[in-house]
């Protein structure tokens, strides 16, 4: 049996979850994801950008450039109202799914 894999939708949901806490840029999101999941979720770092572009196109996040002293400017992402709604719905669905899986696999 293969190890569980994160699909695009779930990856997007995790990004929305992180952005619900504060505005972040790509590198920061990857670092947070790795740290907060104890490196269980360790995708190629570059894949965060296609995911962010998808969320931005769907209107769930909004990107904005911000200058940084002594470093390249960064593109920060904020959760939109639509993103907040999507996060709530996604979280509920995920919890139900996880609980159902736990019902068989045990928690």
């Amino acid at each position: 049996v293969n190890a569980p894999r994160l699909d695009r939708g779930e990856f997007g949901l995790l990004l929305l979850g992180l952005l619900a806490e504060r505005s972040m840029y790509g590198y920061e999101l990857v670092s947070e994801l790795r740290t907060r999941t104890h490196e269980v979720i360790d995708l190629p770092e570059g894949t965060v950008y296609p995911a962010l572009r998808r969320l931005e196109r769907e209107g769930l996040v909004a990107g904005r450039w911000q200058d940084v002293a002594g470093a390249p400017r960064r593109r920060y992402y904020d959760l939109t109202l639509e993103g907040t709604r999507s996060l709530a719905a996604g979280t509920t669905a995920w919890r139900r799914f996880a609980a159902a899986a736990d019902g068989i696999l045990g928690s």
Partner: protein, 443 residues
Amino acid sequence: VTPEAEERLRSHVRAIVDAAQVPRTQADELVEEMLGHLVERVEADQAGGADEDEAVRSATAAFGDVGVVGGELGRTYHSRLWASTIGVLLAAHETAERPPVVRMIRLLVGVTAVLTAISIPVGLWLQTPTSALVGAVAGAAFAVVATLAYRGLAGGQAWAFRLSYGIMGVLVLDGIVTFVSAPPATTTIPVLGILALATLLWSMSSEAALHTFVAGSRPIGRRLGALLAITLLAPLIGRVLPAMPDPTQAGSRDVTMTLAMDCGRRDSAMAGPDRQFARLVADISFRRGDVLPGGLAGQLERAEAADAVGFRIVAPLPIDVDAGGSLPAWLLEGDGVDVRVVETGEVAGWFGASARSMRLLPDTIGSFTAGVDADRIAANRTIRITWTIVPMQDGEQPWPRAEVAYAHLDRFLIQGTIGCGERSTGAPVPGATPHDDPGLLSG
């Protein structure tokens, strides 16, 4: 981060964006964003004690393979169909140095794509509707695939090389057919075919270098591979189409030729009283007409689209004349031909014919011809051609027997014979092909 290191990072990011074919308006910002990520990552690694070279390698490796990230990005910017076709075919990968023969293969494939693309509007302009559409679809598919192969060759895609060998094989075969089927007394040099053959031989001698060049290429799957292989048949369709019946065009079974000949005597103002004459009537009935018989171009030269009809006297035999040669025993009375639509009575043609259809009439029929206006030909209509003929010599002459031929464009020929007081029906002539010059009168 040194400028050299930054350049290495930028090149990795640029390769990802290129692989995804991100729209130009967004590509620069995306490169800047991802480059910022890598720079920060390298600086973090350097702060942890890594040297710059090691940090750059580690950062690009952690960022992800060009093909993986580029593919994911491509799916974001393009449709699912694009991702499963173009995205797969042109997935980026690391390549070895490009062998020189690749440039020649690309040139040939590129020229083929351009020539095929040019042939599409030409075919749409010149051919009949079904042939034009089928030819355009086949041509477009081939041009698109050849263009993809052109791009795939640059990226070291193994499928692009296999397909290019197929295209070059088609060019060689086409060159052979062109050379062999050249009209008598002419020589056609198939330049593309010769270049393709030379390039194939060059490729065979560079096989090892080519193998290394495409080593990192990913398989594209059976379905896509089969689809690409099928498009190699497109040039064959272009060759075969002119010989295939087009359902939008009338065939010989859609046209009936009924012949009648009435013979008698009458007073003639020119030749005197009680003179022999014969009235030869050919009724051409169409069960259906043609849709754009000469293609869109034919709309500009309607006279060329005319049908041709003619007859010759098969009995009595021609009469030798003093100056040499011979003349038919029976001749047209004046310009004695009348061409009309039976149902409406309107004039539908003229004496003599100069249309392309003349080339399909047997060369024994030349002077006693009439042209039938293409605009008068329609489904459920009958065109009646009436010739009045009289004996060439004075005195009682044997009654005539005639052979009548009707050519619809340069597509099919119907022929029949008729004598005095008879009624007959013409029959299609199998295998009738246009000849170079319309023949002259022969009795």
